[in-house]
Point group: C2
Chain length 367, copies 2
């Protein structure tokens, strides 16, 4: 396929290497590997995981579970607090596959217990510091209440405690990732110890991409659910979760204008392609992406002084250093690494692999 | 249709009123009305414009032009600098409809002149202060060069000068919008005066939503191209381009969790639904959306102290004042007005109208 407009390139080899590394790590540490498929949202990319023995997956919505169930995934955790309004779709899924759900409050669990029609696994979500959703580990009264409701309904099978230590994404150093992870680990382990007498089969499920990528201590953890690691991105590179050569995706954008007085190039590639997630660069400016160039045969990431500084719906504005400005001309293509690959993949809805294959995602499909 | 998950509601009546108001304004000021369809991206919504005599439209990409051409729009301006790599699609479109293109540099225009196979209208894009793309009005040497290339090719028909005064979106007051608009107007008018001797039919095309909504002076302007005005949004409300009752869209999101210690409610509705465009609220915080509630029968916008403060892929976190916290409970739905309706519409890909009709966009279609 000839590239004529903003295109999301996917390096399958790098993906396979990233999956293999994580699968091996899980195996070495005796962890169930339940990768999160919200990053790629693609049945075809999903197939790549099967080579490494993956049979159970994580998704972030009921619709995503429906999509992957259609592609023969039989063991799915929806790692998002149950939205009771979707009970019909939940019941329909639960009658077909092994479905695990997440609860974190009494109101929803009570409703779920009332309306559930098929067996489902239930994880209680624990907030280990991310401050998004989940029960605080100290609130054992609430946990006890939830467990009572679960125990009273034979269709509800308590699986264990699940956390997403997403605050690692805001870490300022690798060291901080280790700290956040260890802190979360202690909290989860203490819950496991407290409840394992009554629930001997309960598991602990953790594993955001930063900690799953760099941490080594998973004592007491039974399952990991990283997702972003298959692609990685600029945010992960900055965090130190991956190396440049582990990043499997990039956007290729045509240069449509060049502004010499502002040292800017303008590409076809904007907020509807890349997404408006940014990080703050060393100069204190919003940075939406960084640029890849060839240098003496090798690919390198240009310094942060050249970066995607702004976007409209279809335009991207790249600030370029004076030194490198001559490298970019109208009609050329520029390769950029976005800050957050999950959101870029969600917007683009398809990939072009380095083998020339076009791969689609759930966006292109009515379930 | 029963609402069970994040849904984009569209009030057709408000849309019709917004279109009518703008169409009447254009007529009163003898302006060609060429609305921008990038906001709604929907063939069905496009049909609503026909009732007001609209026959010519603006889009922001070649693919969007292909989509609307399929739905019988015969006069389309692609208001994005030509990306020469799309020349095959451009030629194919130009052979079927009246197509206008935008150029702002010699490199692209030279290539376009070489490869164009059917007649197209050409606008020269002028940068009147937005600092994105376009020729600065003072660079008449460059304009002369571009006009020479256009004149030399009978397939290229010079239409005139086009600008997007998008810096009005960054205005701090209505007064500043008036200033930006008037400044842009003067620049465009002076170009018109300079070139009308040689090109008596040239037109001036302007009209971002803020200035098209509130400014009255369009002397010397021939065409306006606002897009966002059909829906408006929180950004336009803040700018003073519209009133609350002119906003035609809102997201409806299920509440899945409630955190009493942080005064937060967590909704199903995140970055893949709403988009990460934000404005800074009065407290200096990022605000991605504001909340609509019913109060003694009427709908009102809650103060900025209650707002969408953060999002992950599927989660939205709403900070709520202590006073209003009791209004929101797990299992309820919350209505929110997003900052930027174009990006939300692009992500959602469909609308539910207040008449219960589901309307789709180009996202759901392969062209």
């Amino acid at each position: 396929m000839e590239i004529v407009r903003p295109t999301l390139l996917l390096d399958k080899e790098i993906c396979m290497r990233n999956i293999e590394r994580m699968a091996q790590k899980a195996e070495a540490k005796k962890l169930q590997f339940r990768p999160h498929f919200k990053t790629h949202q693609s049945a075809q990319v999903g197939e790549w995981f099967r080579e490494f023995g993956v049979k159970s997956i994580t998704v972030s919505s009921v619709q995503m579970a429906q999509y992957f169930a259609k592609y023969n995934w039989k063991d799915i955790t929806i790692a998002f607090p149950v939205n009771i309004h979707e009970i019909n779709d939940i019941n329909s899924l639960a009658s077909k596959i092994k479905l695990n759900l997440l609860v974190e409050n009494k109101e929803t669990l009570t409703q779920l217990s009332k309306f559930i029609k098929a067996p489902v696994g239930i994880f209680i979500e624990i907030d280990t510091g991310h401050n998004r959703t989940g029960v605080l580990p100290g609130k054992t009264n609430l946990i006890d209440t939830l467990l009572e409701i679960i125990r009273a309904n034979k269709r509800l099978d308590f699986k264990g405690f699940l956390t997403h230590a997403g605050h690692t994404y805001q870490a300022n150093s690798r060291h901080e990732i280790f700290n956040f992870h260890f802190d979360a680990l202690l909290k989860m382990r203490s819950l496991k110890n407290r409840y394992k007498k009554d629930w001997p089969d309960l598991i602990v499920s953790m594993g955001d991409t930063p900690s799953a990528s760099i941490c080594e201590n998973f004592e007491g953890v039974d399952e990991i659910r990283p997702g972003n690691f298959i692609f990685y991105d600029l945010m992960q590179l900055k965090l130190g979760s991956c190396r440049f050569e582990d990043i499997a995706i990039r956007m290729v954008c045509p240069i449509v204008a060049k502004n010499t007085s502002r040292n800017e190039i303008i590409v076809y590639g904007g907020a509807v392609h890349i997404s408006k997630d940014f990080i703050i660069n060393t100069a204190g400016k919003k940075m939406y992406a960084q640029i890849v160039v060839k240098s003496t045969g090798d690919e390198i990431l240009l310094s942060e002084k050249s970066y995607l500084s702004d976007m409209s719906q279809e335009h991207g504005i790249l600030k370029i250093t004076y030194k490198d400005f001559h490298l970019f001309n109208v009609g050329d293509f520029v390769d950029i690494i976005p800050v957050h690959s999950c959101l870029t993949a969600n917007l683009m809805g398809s990939y072009l692999t380095n083998e020339g294959e076009v791969i689609t995602t759930s966006r292109n499909e009515t379930i």
